[in-house]
């Protein structure tokens, strides 16, 4: 029995609802929470089967831990995947923040650990560690956190970056089903993969074709770590409409303004995956349903599943066969696309998973669907 695929959605941020496709990186709108709209978005997400909301991190945005906490206080089921950059606070203080969050929101916090991708931005926090050092530090950081969570107290640790003596926290991680938060580690470099396979529940990477993600995904799964993809989504009733939506996106003035800005951002980044994904954007289509047309203007997370609900489900399944079990999605328009996905795509995914569960041979899904629709197995048809 395989676990169902899990779908997360990137939280809408300030300015996202003003119709802007991509607010300027340092715009004041991005810097402010949109409390009422964000709560409404999260409530809809939790009612529609979204697993967690990704609360991303940047010096230009509100702090994700505090923002996630405020939104958790107004929701019931949705988890918050809080992005965090090790290096800016003591690992024990961080573990304590995570534990406090878990206590106040029934364990609804997961962690998206990112080593940082912009040396300039790290410097604004006083962090001048080089790329590889940041991953070494992340490993120490997560090791310390893990010891606090596994209650092997007192925690004693002596590393290159941290030295902890007799550490004890009286504020445990509290969740109905876990004693530690689920940890996602992002990044494409060998260092990132090593950190993920050693210390994470799931490795997160930018998208590529199912064929290209499969080898690394297989290696990762051998170490017991799941693999998740950052992806975008443009789903429309017909393929023609979906493609028209990609055209509309590229023609938007915001995109025109971003020409060059993304190139220089990537150039200044020391994240390997950001560069290699930028290069992928040379081609507009990676597969017939995987679009990279916005990568060189809107960034690496904009590789998108494009097509009809059926086409997108098929592509998701190709990724599933390549070893991907979780997806962090977003789309345009930012809220509407989540609604479309949850209404038109997610039930099809669940339906197909239930059929797999009953042991239909690969390739027989379509036949099974049509026989179930009006045949003798109709009563077993999964509810959507």
């Amino acid at each position: 029995m395989t676990a169902p695929l899990r779908f997360h959605w990137r939280l809408i941020q300030g300015g996202d609802l003003q119709g802007a496709i991509a607010p300027e990186r340092l715009s004041s709108a991005v810097a402010l929470p949109e409390m009422a709209a964000q709560i409404a978005f999260c409530r809809e997400a939790e009612q529609s089967g979204i697993d967690s909301a990704l609360v991303d991190i940047s010096s230009a945005k509100p702090d994700p831990m505090v923002l996630g906490m405020a939104l958790a206080a107004s929701t019931e089921r949705l988890k918050f995947m809080v992005a965090h950059r090790p290096g800016l606070m003591s690992p024990a203080l961080f573990a304590q923040q995570v534990n406090t969050f878990s206590t106040l929101a029934s364990g609804r916090i997961t962690l998206n650990m990112v080593a940082g991708y912009s040396p300039a931005e790290q410097l604004t926090y006083g962090d001048n560690a080089a790329h590889d050092t940041r991953y070494e530090r992340m490993k120490e950081y997560l090791t310390i956190c893990d010891r606090f969570w596994s209650a092997e107290e007192p925690v004693n640790f002596s590393g290159q970056h941290y030295r902890i003596q007799d550490g004890r926290l009286r504020t445990p991680f509290v969740a109905p089903d876990r004693s530690a938060p689920e940890i996602y580690v992002g990044g494409g470099s060998a260092n990132a993969r090593e950190a993920a396979s050693a210390l994470a529940d799931c490795w997160l990477r930018f998208a590529d074709t199912p064929e290209n993600v499969a080898p690394q995904a297989a290696a990762m799964r051998l170490s017991g770590t799941e693999v998740g993809l950052r992806l975008s989504c443009i789903v429309r009733p017909t393929r023609r409409e979906a493609i028209a939506a990609t055209r509309g996106l590229l023609d938007a003035p915001a995109i025109q303004r971003r020409q060059g800005s993304e190139a220089s951002f990537v150039k200044a980044s020391d994240a390997e995956s950001m560069r290699s994904t930028y290069d992928l954007g040379e081609q507009e289509w990676l597969t017939p349903h995987l679009w990279a047309g916005a990568v060189q203007t809107l960034g690496a997370t904009t590789i998108a599943l494009v097509g009809t609900p059926d086409e997108v489900v098929d592509e998701i399944y190709r990724f599933k066969e390549a070893g991907i079990s979780q997806f962090i999605l977003h789309g345009w328009p930012k809220w509407e696309e989540m609604r479309i996905f949850c209404r038109d795509v997610l039930p099809l995914v669940r339906q197909r998973e239930q059929m797999d569960e009953r042991g239909s041979p690969p390739g027989a899904e379509l036949a099974a669907v049509s026989s179930q629709t009006n045949g003798e197995h109709g009563s077993r048809r999964p509810e959507s």
Partner: protein, 377 residues
């Protein structure tokens, strides 16, 4: 998406018209739900505190004119920033005085967290800088800096935080010994109404603390001692425009007799075990404020003045120096402190909820009445 309503922008921070005119009162949240918390050994303390009891104390503070709740930091407490977020969303007026230990977080990350919290609670945030009481506990967090250097680091930390708060969109650059910032810019503001930063409180009885408070803080917290001995010590701070506040417990009752009984009853509940815990803490602390109070405690009588009682210090520690008496007496004592320049108080009580309610109903109106009479004169 057009039907969406956007959240109301945070409302104006109610700041005192003239801080010199009306005393301000704050309260510690740390005992909410467990009045005997301070008498328990750290190893046995649970950090899982009852949110409902905390919320009840915050709502009581909201009602009774308490300016803020002190949100403690340490290995035995929930994280103060996140707890303040949840309590702040359910209250309207009371502020949250978030404790911070500079050695544990980058100034920019701290400012970003405080600003985010402040935006959610309409700017109802102060910060309280603490050095940390025991080196032993700081090492849980990986902080090994010797005490002598902690002041220098605190100085840099506040310099960096203030630069980020007061930058007005300009880049912040700082090349310090403990913190460096290059091209720092945090567009998430502390408030939407022009208030650039939280009020800064700083705790400590040492000369270094006073000097730092003068440089960076709005108010210096000191442990309570009789007005006569305190006056000279705080005058240099007050002259610079930095306020001075007192950390003191409160045992106010309708009559003095009842207050004395309450004090006796309080210490009667703690045995030799509590004394041993306090002695052990005393051995491990290196904070000047605590040392001073432990010395004071050696004196023969538990009455430092007619209303300043040290009887609970041996069992509950330095913060248990208490203003004790009838509502009238306690109001009088507060105004005596006001005469020597003390303008703020941070209280604890046993239990907090009853003490705060009594304070709000019986003591505070008497204080305001006398303050108003004073103004008319």
């Amino acid at each position: 998406m057009s039907g969406l309503t956007h959240p109301p922008r945070p409302t104006a921070v109610p700041r005192p018209v003239d801080p010199g005119k009306a005393l301000r009162f704050h309260w510690s949240l740390s005992q909410a739900g467990n009045r005997f918390r301070r008498s328990e050994p750290t190893e046995e303390l649970s950090g899982r505190l009852p949110f409902e009891a905390q919320l009840e104390l915050c709502q009581c503070a909201d009602e009774h004119g308490i300016d803020s709740l002190l949100m403690a930091i340490g290995s035995t407490c929930p994280d103060p920033i996140l707890l303040s977020t949840c309590l702040g969303l359910k209250t309207r007026r009371v502020k949250f005085m978030v404790a911070c230990r500079p050695g544990l977080i980058s100034p920019a990350a701290f400012v970003q967290q405080i600003n985010t919290l402040a935006l959610f609670v309409g700017g109802r945030v102060h910060i309280n800088l603490v050095g940390g009481h025991t080196p032993h506990e700081l090492q849980y967090y990986g902080d090994w800096l010797p005490r002598a250097e902690r002041y220098a680091r605190l100085d840099e930390f506040l310099t960096a935080c203030r630069a980020l708060w007061e930058a007005d969109g300009q880049e912040v650059n700082l090349a310090g010994r403990y913190y460096q910032i290059t091209g720092g810019r945090l567009p998430t503001p502390f408030s939407m109404n022009g208030v650039r930063r939280p009020e800064i409180f700083l705790e400590g009885n040492s000369e270094e603390s006073a000097a730092l408070a003068i440089r960076h803080a709005d108010c210096l917290w000191r442990f309570a001692e009789p007005p006569a001995s305190l006056a000279d010590k705080i005058a240099p701070v007050i002259q610079t425009g930095t306020e001075v506040g007192l950390l003191v417990s409160l045992i106010a009752r309708p009559t003095r007799d009842e207050a004395v009984q309450a004090g006796c009853h309080l210490i009667g509940q703690f045995g030799e075990k509590a004394r041993a815990i306090q002695r052990s803490f005393e051995r491990h602390t290196d904070a000047a404020a605590f040392e001073l109070t432990y010395l004071a405690r050696q004196s023969l009588t538990p009455w430092a003045t007619r209303t300043l009682w040290t009887g609970a210090v041996p069992v509950l520690g330095a913060p248990a120096i208490a203003l004790l008496g009838s509502a009238e007496e306690v109001a009088g004592a507060l105004l005596e402190y006001k005469e020597i320049g003390v303008t703020q108080f941070l209280f604890t009580g046993w239990p907090d909820l009853d003490e705060m309610t009594f304070f709000g109903r019986e003591v505070l109106p008497r204080v305001r009445e006398r303050e108003n009479a004073e103004l008319k004169r």
